[in-house]
């Protein structure tokens, strides 16, 4: 179980959150993209080995959705000066 640093509530156990997956841009205007680009927005993800940015939803407490950076190999989560857990 990871420890997730919520900007509103501090560091909390992972099961208070739902992971929303790799962070993508907010929804583009469909008219500005062709079919292949739209399919890319829906389905393609970088799926990096190492540092990647993802979104989490703190549904159990404050309800905020936020992004953080996590290393997919070591689970090291984005740096935070007050955060002693890495």
């Amino acid at each position: 179980m990871l420890l997730i640093p919520c900007p509103d509530c501090g560091v909390r156990p992972e099961n208070e959150f739902q992971c929303l997956g790799e962070a993508v841009t907010s929804r583009p205007e469909p008219a500005t993209l062709d079919d292949a680009q739209w399919a890319g927005y829906i389905h393609e993800r970088a799926n990096r080995r190492g540092q990647h940015v993802e979104r989490w939803w703190h549904f159990a407490c404050c309800g905020m959705i936020f992004a953080l950076s996590r290393d997919t190999l070591t689970h090291a989560v984005s740096a935070n000066a007050q955060d002693a857990w890495r």
Binding site: D8, C9, P13, E16, H58, A60, C61, C62
Partner: protein, 191 residues
């Protein structure tokens, strides 16, 4: 029926007046102050006013208000009017969907830590602290009422009340753990 394993008391409280409000932080604060409620200075704390209304700040954009059931009508009217004045933030009556348990005694953490990954111990979760968290597979709100001995109020969606109560009693060693699903252990007390 087994003898209890930890020195703990588990009670289901009678229904209270409970409200949940969500919306932009500034609107929540303005509406609550307009309704005459005490506003906690920090999030994840509660503030109580003279009438016994308890406001729990669970995040910038979410609060829960508890009060004795007798105050429900009056409080509802005040909140309806206060929230009608703000464009986005809303306040819903959730008394009927909020089951409240009280877990108290020296063994309270022995029981609660079986289901709660959050550190509910003393320097981390002091008296007056209130936050949303997980207890086994239910989403709950913990509020610490007292430090010595421990006393916690647990607010949970009423539909999960049977599940949470069963777990609390099994964790305390009061029940032997062979409960069939679909059977309420005890009906909720009448309002």
């Amino acid at each position: 029926m087994t003898t209890q394993r930890y020195d703990v008391r588990i009670e289901r409280r009678l229904m209270e007046a409970v409200f949940e409000a969500r919306g932009p932080a500034s609107e929540l604060e303005a509406a609550c102050r307009a309704a005459g409620l005490a506003w906690p200075e920090q999030t994840h704390r509660m503030a109580r006013d003279a009438q016994g209304c308890n406001l729990l700040r669970l995040g910038a954009k979410r609060i829960v208000i508890r009060a004795p059931l007798a105050l429900e009508q009056e409080l509802r009217a005040a909140l309806d009017s206060a929230f009608a004045a703000v464009p986005t933030a809303n306040c819903a009556l959730v008394s009927d969907m909020t089951a409240i348990f009280c877990v108290s005694g020296p063994g309270a953490l022995d029981v609660l830590r079986q289901g709660a990954p959050l550190d509910l111990g003393l320097p981390a979760f002091p008296q007056g602290a209130a936050t949303g968290a997980r207890l086994w597979d239910a989403t709950v709100i913990f509020e610490r009422r007292a430090a010595q001995p421990h006393c916690f109020d647990i607010l949970v969606d009423a539909s999960y009340a049977g599940y949470v109560e069963n777990w609390l009693r099994v964790a305390a060693g009061e029940a032997d753990g062979d409960e069939a699903p679909g059977v309420m252990r005890a009906p909720p007390p009448a309002a």
